[in-house]
């Protein structure tokens, strides 16, 4: 590796990424018709604009909730706090929802929930569609084995526990309707991509708990632990819907 080239690349990286550019770029740059400071400013601007656009693409509902200028400021702060590390930008947005929680912006928990939903949709789009669990496979499970079976969830399934009516906000955004006022709603949302397309499924508290446990590899018996007997029928019905929607792909 070339030491001189490495030094030059460290200099240019800092000149582009650091909030304040170098004092006198002409010490390093020269030979172009465009003045060095102007040429450098093109790269400095492009770096921020590209990453800001990337965040805006993935989190357009959050952008609508906070407003255009506030989102620009938010995205710029995110880019400064979390410079990209990966070779591609495909997964850059994964850092945005947890980063929102570290900020002092108003309603950050609510916004982070919405951001998490948007990111789950991005991940689901990029996940493969796997064949659904065959009903015959379930029918073959012996009654005494039910408690110990584990279900393999679809690659695109994301279970998002939440404290707000996040799915309703996203739905209004998607349909270009006025955004509803923020409301508390304990429960969650499941995101999945199946042969029908991309789906968001509202979950109540119990459904969220059970589905989260199943997707984390808990055996069925442990996933249902602590659930009042009166709720089991409701979970059974939900389970039947989840099977049809392709939440599970295999038993193990």
């Amino acid at each position: 590796m070339s030491a001189v080239l490495a030094r030059r690349q460290r200099w240019l990286y800092a000149a582009i990424v650091d909030t304040n550019g170098p004092r006198d770029p002409t010490k390093v740059l020269g030979g172009a018709a465009v003045p060095a400071a102007l040429g450098l400013s093109i790269y400095r601007h492009a770096y921020r604009a590209r990453l800001r656009d990337c965040v805006a693409d993935d989190f357009s509902a959050v952008a609508q909730v906070v407003g255009e200028q506030a989102f620009t400021n938010l995205a710029d702060s995110f880019v400064a706090a979390c410079p990209p590390m990966d070779a591609t930008l495909n997964a850059y947005g994964r850092f945005f929802p947890p980063w929102l929680l570290t900020t002092r912006i108003p309603a950050r928990v609510r916004l982070a929930e919405l951001a998490r939903l948007e990111w789950a949709l991005v991940e689901a789009i990029h996940a493969a569609i796997a064949p659904s669990l065959n009903a015959a496979a379930l029918a073959g499970v012996a009654p005494q084995a039910w408690a110990t079976i584990r279900l393999v969830v679809a690659p695109s399934l994301r279970v998002l526990p939440g404290r707000y009516h996040t799915n309703a906000v996203y739905e209004a955004f998607r349909l270009s309707k006025p955004l509803p006022s923020p409301q508390r709603k304990n429960g969650g949302v499941a995101v999945i991509r199946n042969a029908e397309g991309l789906m968001r499924v509202e979950l109540n508290v119990d459904e969220t708990k059970v589905l989260s446990r199943l997707s984390n590899g808990f055996p069925l018996g442990e996933a249902l632990e602590g659930l009042p007997a009166a709720r089991l029928t409701m979970i059974r019905q939900a389970f039947a819907r989840w099977l049809i929607q392709g939440f599970f792909t295999a038993l193990r």
Binding site: S2, G31, V34, P83, T88, A127, P155
Partner: protein, 301 residues
């Protein structure tokens, strides 16, 4: 004049193509594109097992595809990202892409990435470094890598070579191919104050596998390579000077921002025929089916 057997390093001339963009998937699959090939941004499909790859599989089954990446970072002093190169090869083999290209640039340091195509100082030291990495990539790909000339806005005081001499030496030492972006030559000629004919005079034409054209933004004091509009006449004219010298090679229009309908992008790409009469003859024999107007994507009868 290059002997036909040596033209394009043995690669086919795919005619006129456009960059494949997500908003055009349906139009391409449902319509009957007149273009001869599509160029994908490799990076958009390498970490995905989902919908974009499903569309790409279907499109690649019907159309010739070439791969163009933005993150190989061939000039970086960070260690070569071998996983990235392996992923490139896997994707190439999956979609049967005709070739793999990336830029003469660097994009980041170890653990940090700007996702921009950053310029290199053109020195003997840089040349050694870049050539060594191109050879490694070619060994992994088991095929020549195709390198594109960049558009740049700064130069380095320590540069001892012109970009065109650097590229000629790079091609000579590594056997790599060249994706000659005539819009980038135009942009850099303005920003650096050189004459594009000097650039073209040094090109090893037998290495040119593909051409790029694109729109740019003229800011008066400088030009920015924005890919957000039609190609201006001087860029087409530059293509008209360059194309015959390579013995003809695949021409691709890049349109990456403010992207219009597929038909508009396609029509812009096909303007190449106005500047290259010999190409029009070639396409007339290659595409004999009548054009079907696809109203779903905004075409007018």
């Amino acid at each position: 004049m290059i002997a036909p057997s040596k033209q394009r390093m043995g690669q086919p001339n795919l005619g006129i193509g456009v960059g494949l963009r997500g908003q055009h998937y349906r139009a391409i699959l449902d319509g009957q594109p007149q273009i001869g090939f599509l160029e994908i941004i490799s990076d958009n499909y390498m970490e995905s097992a989902g919908r974009p790859l499903e569309f790409l599989d279907r499109i690649a089954a019907q159309h010739a595809v070439v791969m163009h990446g933005v993150s190989l970072s061939i000039g970086s002093t960070a260690p070569l990202n071998r996983t990235y190169v392996r992923n490139l090869k896997t994707l190439r083999d999956r979609i049967k892409a005709r070739w793999v290209s990336d830029h003469l640039c660097w994009t980041g340091l170890a653990g940090r990435n700007t996702h921009d195509l950053l310029p290199l100082p053109y020195t003997k030291e840089t040349l050694r470094h870049v050539c060594e990495r191109i050879r490694k990539v070619q060994d992994m790909l088991e095929a020549p890598l195709i390198i594109e000339n960049p558009s740049t806005y700064i130069g380095f005081a320590e540069s001892t070579m012109s970009e065109w001499d650097f590229i000629a030496a790079m091609c000579d030492r590594t056997g790599c191919g060249l994706l000659l972006d005539v819009n980038n030559i135009f942009v850099s000629a303005r920003n650096h104050g050189f004459d594009s004919t000097d650039y073209l005079a040094a090109i090893p034409w037998e290495r040119v596998v593909q051409f790029h054209v694109a729109g740019h933004s003229d800011e008066g004091t400088h030009v920015v390579d924005t890919h957000d509009g039609p190609v201006i006449d001087p860029v087409w004219e530059l293509l008209a000077q360059a194309w015959p010298r390579a013995g003809g090679a695949s021409i691709l229009l890049e349109w990456d921002a403010k992207i219009p309908s597929f038909i508009e992008v396609e029509q812009e790409a096909l303007r190449a025929r106005d500047y290259l009469p010999q190409l029009a003859t070639h396409l007339a024999s290659a595409h004999h089916s009548p054009r079907r107007i696809n109203k779903r994507v905004g075409g007018a009868a």
